[in-house]
Symmetry: C2
Subunit: 234 residues, 2 copies
DNA sequence: TCATAAAAACAAATCGATTTTTCTTCCACT
DNA sequence: AGTGGAAGAAAAATCGATTTGTTTTTATGA
């Protein structure tokens, strides 16, 4: 549970609704609002000191991003998690991100190549200290930026939006279930290979590597989730 | 421009917001609210005799479905159309629907087969009379139902939502630019082939046929759109 | 004791009015 | 004439209160 004033004040230049949306989004992605939890609009309204109208619009937007589920006349709840859902998100990312990457390789020029290598450099130079919450956030930001930079030049707004939403759901699972300790992979090597194939215009190889990268992360998450949700059937 | 009372009264059991959403959605898809048009919330509020809160939530939902675009502090406008957008929608449908179809073929049993053949039968028995607006609507409903039935059993809610949104955008282009007169294709034969391959569990063939089917429609629409938007560059 | 139904409590949906922001017009000044 | 900017108008965002619908509780009859 976070305090309210700082969170709302931080995001400037936006509309109030946008600020609340951002604040709630962070709480959902971080697990502060756990999967399946019912949202009391009344309570949130007081917590953030806003009117129902603003709050209502914020949760409507979050629902459309798949972070909340809405039952008419019965309120909102945080989107539940499940093995099925994780499998679908993984599967769709495996299809869509390589598609976007191929297009980006076709469209991108020297600027794009530069951006990719820059994002890779920053990511590989960013350390993760399991004990330091802030370093984890910085690493995640760099990781997200790297994946986005790879595909950003695909020039397909709808596809980018889909990939963005899927990544967001993915990050929630990662926050909830993936501690760094268990990681046995050389992530840096994987990222570097992907970036270098992409910049070298080897679309087939880059797409295959990206697909495998997503699949591996998905498998790791699945293992953790299975351990955390014992007895639940597919 | 439609009258208000009947439209809102027709959709029962829903929340008021839901009714407005449905009414506006129809007007956008039919072209009654043309691409790029600015929405005056004030005018719509009076037109439908509802409060701003309800209307606001309705347009927020439509925006999240990609039918409206929102600029903060500056209002909503109907999503514009373009060759680029049409190309992206076509491309994504070509990727996603076959993916869903393969999964449906893997998952579906005798019930699914039956549903597919039933939807095919209804579609092929539904005539289109260019002069009769109602017959066009009936045909379109049958057509949508057929495509949805094909992939419904993929058991991937996120994927189905994406396909649904893309189809919706597609149907808008069809309404705006595709008269039946120019159609030189044997649509019934295409649909029949797809359905029969699917039911016969020939996933590769069914997916390829569906992909080609979408591509052909996309090409036809592109030609019409190019004719209608002269001088506009890709 | 259980089932049923009325009623009280609670929460979501809607409303009308107010505040804030953006857009437009018009005037002063160079 | 052209630029800058202030005043007014229009539109979006927000608010607090009311209405409508859902859930829970309690009382009644079999």
């Amino acid at each position: 549970m976070t305090t309210k004033e700082p969170v709302l004040a931080r995001a400037r230049g936006q509309t109030l609704t946008g600020k609340i949306e951002t604040a709630l989004r962070l709480r959902i992605l971080s697990g502060d609002l756990p999967p399946g939890a019912k949202l009391s609009l009344d309570r949130l309204k007081n917590e953030y000191s806003v009117s129902l109208s603003a709050l209502r619009e914020a949760v409507t937007r979050l629902a459309s991003d798949g972070l909340l589920e809405v039952e008419e006349q019965r309120g909102y709840r945080v989107a539940p998690i499940s093995l099925d859902n994780l499998a679908e998100v993984t599967r769709l990312r495996m299809e869509l991100e390589p598609l976007a990457l191929r297009q980006a390789i076709a469209n991108g020029g020297i600027d794009w190549e530069t951006d990719v290598m820059a994002a890779l450099y920053r990511l590989n130079r960013t350390g993760r200290d399991p004990k330091d919450q802030e370093s984890l956030e910085v690493w995640e930001a760099a990781h997200n930026a790297f994946h986005l930079t790879l595909i950003d030049r695909c020039d397909m707004p709808l596809l980018l939006r889909m990939c963005g939403q899927l990544s967001e759901m993915y990050n929630r699972y990662r926050h909830l279930f993936l501690s760094i300790k268990g990681e046995q992979r050389d992530l840096a090597a994987e990222h570097t290979e992907i970036a270098e194939s992409a910049v070298a215009r080897d679309a087939d190889r880059a797409a295959a590597l990206l697909r495998a990268h997503i699949e591996k992360t998905g498998a790791a998450l699945k293992a953790r989730l299975e351990a955390a949700l014992p007895g639940q059937e597919r």
